[in-house]
Symmetry: D2
Subunit: 366 residues, 4 copies
């Protein structure tokens, strides 16, 4: 990963701020002849778009993607694909004391301490708005996967909102699209609705845990040391703004297990190896096993809340601040399609890396 680029062969560079003319993703290394158009990318952006329910920010952004390069007659050419989203909701407003004060829990202060400047109109590159570009790039990655490995399905969903976790007994893939929280537990969705409404009305916010599963990923993707599939997935998720923790399979809980409980036993099934469980999250030694790839990440609560907080100004004076505005009581909701997009980009990248180094000469069992 460079400053604003990730990926080895499928390389995504995002650019742009929430308060400039546009933002986007420059995607290099996409395989050629992948069927793609703006509509097929737009569907994923619409999933992330603000204002789709009362539980997300009421800011209005059309988030219309334009493909500026890299396609011809409805297919990728193999050269860079420029995905641009113009900013439309740039209402001029009174920034008030935000110009001088740093918002606690935001990147305002570190940004200024690093660069010696700050675009006080928004969060700049550390704004959640940057993730729109990731979702667009992820849409392209999904289209390429549909051509290269059509059996792969990537699905994100919320497994915890603040104090409330889902009950895995209620897990139902079909529920995920049925509620505004992208949760597979219908009962949790009901509980969360009331919970979040309360938080929203009180001007508070809350964190969340998102899980992203990739089903149908072939065995053999990744590498044993730094190019591990889980390393790249962890980096991809941790690079999303507001993420503070990442888990593969058993995750942090692996620390609590004994070796007997943790290692997944192997048996031979009709289509290859089968496993008694998936504590590994589909990755052993950095390489995919053929089981579901399972990753989780925690999104912290937004710091834009209606409570007075202590802070300082650029000139070093102690003061207080309230961050007014149109905010997300649970930004984790909109992180679901972002996590999916990062998963799609990493899986595609590793498919290409694997094909580059190994070609068809994999080991076969049985």
């Amino acid at each position: 990963m460079s400053l604003n680029t990730f990926g080895h062969l499928f390389r995504v560079t995002t650019w742009g701020e929430s308060h400039g003319p546009a933002l986007g993703a420059t995607v290099d290394g996409c395989p050629p002849n992948v069927a793609i158009d703006e509509g097929s990318i737009q569907q994923w952006l619409d999933k992330r778009k603000p204002g789709t329910s009362k539980y997300t920010t009421q800011r209005r952004e059309a988030d219309k993607v334009k493909i500026l390069s890299g396609t011809f007659e409805g297919k990728t050419t193999g050269t860079p694909v420029q995905l641009m989203i113009e900013n439309t909701d740039q209402r001029s407003k009174d920034y008030g004391d935000i110009i001088e004060k740093f918002r606690p829990g935001h990147a305002d202060i570190t940004y200024y301490q690093k660069y010696g400047n700050r675009d006080y109109r928004g969060g700049g590159r550390s704004s959640a708005r940057e993730t729109a570009a990731r979702v667009a790039a992820g849409g392209l990655a999904r289209a390429a996967l549909a051509r290269l490995a059509p059996q792969i399905e990537i699905t994100g969903y919320m497994t915890r909102m603040g104090a409330h976790e889902i009950d895995r007994e209620n897990f139902d893939w079909d529920q995920i699209e049925q509620n505004p929280f992208w949760t597979p537990d219908a009962k949790a969705a009901h509980t969360w609705a009331g919970y979040l409404d309360g938080l929203r009305k009180s001007g508070s916010s809350v964190g969340a845990i998102i899980e992203v599963t990739a089903r149908g990923v072939p065995a053999g993707l990744g590498a044993p040391v730094y190019g591990k599939l889980d390393t790249d997935l962890a980096a991809a998720m941790m690079s999303i703004n507001a993420v503070k923790g990442v888990e593969i399979g058993e995750g942090m809980s692996a620390a609590m297990l004994t070796g007997e409980l943790n290692a997944d036993e192997i048996t031979m099934g009709p289509d290859g190896p089968e496993y008694s469980s998936n504590h590994s999250g589909g990755i052993l030694g950095g390489i995919s096993t053929g089981q579901d790839i399972v990753i989780r990440f925690a999104v912290k609560p937004t710091s834009s809340i209606l409570t007075t907080r202590k802070t300082i100004t650029k000139s070093g004076e102690s003061t207080e601040i309230i961050t007014k505005g149109r905010h997300d009581p649970c930004v984790g909701i909109r992180a679901v399609p972002v996590g999916e997009a990062m998963m799609a980009c990493v899986i595609l990248d590793h498919l290409l890396l694997h094909r580059g180094q190994i070609g068809e000469n994999q080991g076969t069992i049985g």
Copy 2:
């Protein structure tokens, strides 16, 4: 990160297997004129070395590092430093059915499925032995930090062993070096000794959580999007073998907090900004705040245990396996210096990156 390289400017490539003639780290991009000799690197390797207590594997590896290049008259020249460790404990032995069987929970099967080959004498690159090279590279990074930012202190310690977590009330920096578990809680050390002895005698194993803290890191390191300091730290830790989860600051628990509880308030102190708490783990928007950098990672229990487990052979037959040998009941212990090494490498790398892009033109407060 490439397959076996990490870092942007301070670039570490590790190479070698546990059962070949040697392993090591090729370190490129180290600043010149850093005082270094084999002894100053050896001290960190000795910390990680097997057989230092009854709680770690009784395999005997001298782990003597040799500097083959990149230094002259006791200082780095600015060119690649080759750190080599020769393998000495390569006793010929009967590998028995390991040659054909895949050990559950190990990378044996994915390695074979990826590459179409497997060095059955050991874990190859997915062996914990690879981490010796990281510790050597970390020793060099520490020496460079001592020159560039001598106020930085990097300390790793264990905060959980299986069922038992430390009590933060007992946290004492001075205790860390006083017990074989590198834990800051003397009482926990006592409990763990008995607990692990029991596990060891029964041929079982258990996971652990390691925390690594970097104190004295200046504000401004990192970047807002993919080159985030926390992204690179998460990748660095997740790339260590057996790690399944990574947390920055509040980590996964951030999901359970409200915005009021999570955001650290800012006040002005005599030496710059001060914070009411450190939920952020010293990083906001991917950039260091000047507070302590705090990262935790979970190490799964080793799968080499004295219990019969179901598995399959290369030819696809279902069978059973017991992994005999000299193993670590809690590999997390030896992961402590590895986590420290990765922290040192990442912090140094970001110091150089920051200096490259920004130089001295940072923003100052007050």
Copy 3:
């Protein structure tokens, strides 16, 4: 260099085709607080723009650059700068047999053989139009250099057109801006005018040699092995379309010299080392000496000529082709600002790299 990205820390990714909606450069890693606006970049694009004299293609492209991101209040923020140029001269036309036939000397055939597709409306990424994005990025690099190392002056000029070379005795820096060929030899400019007019009227084309000099570059930039300053410069120039050869200092002629003639003697001057000559082109062992950096590259004649040529079709039939249209009789002319742009990007990149690794701790003489 990746497929469409070059640079280590100052990283330029160009995107877009001549016949899509737009093209541009995504520039990552620019230092913050560099004064920049569209006008200061436009001046360099205007130098490269087609149609400025009768000696360049009469295609009309406004080549207006827009800055879409990475600046605030007239300065760079340190985050990605998106430089976009919209395509305006996309007149619909009859592509005729170009759709099926490959033009000899063009990338049509290799492009198709690689990607399995071809945008027959133009040269796609192998079109000279891609270089407009480089010139825009180079404009940003120049602005950053003006802040970091204002004494550096980068100047490109033509030293050969086809059969006619300049006379170094006539070299006059002030002449370069005085003629449409950017040549420092006023007499050559006169000769070339008639020569090229003849070629243009006959529908022919001719090659050229461009030299780019960077004056005022400090000693110490570069590295001894793969990160050599001359390696990166050679790659930068060779990556320009139609370039077939690159020389540093004495260049290919160094093969004809003896050691006595080639090595520049060193004496001590009032401001540091001085050299009796500059056969080295300002680079020794991959590292700048403080003398002028001098690089030359050869641009082949465009293959778009009014002569019937043998070729084949996509279906493998032998046939003939004439490439009509509005072409450059000597594309080398418009390569001058492109070479300057690449020099600016490489020098800036190495300044940042050097500052990152070494900081202020260079060796001083005397």
Copy 4:
């Protein structure tokens, strides 16, 4: 290219100095299951080894390569291959005034100006000795090519020594191995023998031009912009020490041609496209055509000559120097296998890159 690493997927990092314990190449990303042993790499090192004729330096280096990692049972595993060459001829000697004086034409001065230090016992990383590691890596690349694309043949040879160029009419592939200059022109070999003997006896030195041809490279390798095959080849050759110019196909002479003379006409042959000539050097728009890839590079004369030269000391005093010792009167001779090695590495790297991005979906003609 990073400081000491080149390649995208087949990544070679060289390390080590002439006067340390060892040097070598860390090769990452090699395909697995490539048959390799020390002998098959040694053959290429023996070709480059000093002291093989009276025309190369009489320094004695055994240059014995050891494979320290990345192979098992005679095949590559797909993990890093460490190729180490121990330094044996490190006779202690009196360095005399070399410690304080900079040798003109060497990197002594720039090295010191960059790093603030200098290993006066030799050229450090800028010594020709570094190229032994490249040749070892190239041997591995050749072995991988033998498995992936066995039809490819890579051959280097000298086409000019100082004032004397070969006569292309005398070109005979079989002559190359028959003379100490690796030249395909038997008559030139005869002339050069006397010419070089004279230079050697007078303590002088002379430059050379090396051409490297790759036959059998399939069409489609490379990319149109920065990842051009010719860009990577030019960088590879320019990164060799003492190289001052690089040409693809027609090279610098392309500047002298008209479009009619330069563009190679295409006809359809029994096995695909055929070309009337190869001015392009086998590359169009950065992508291989299927014709022979032809690259040339100029090696300057070594500056280690028996003539008194003006120079300065570290403390800035003007003085004189004679560089005694055992030197190569024409270092170009030993650059032949180095150029071949770089060609092998670049071609393999681009084969892997192409397979990664495109797989089998290339365009076919006819």
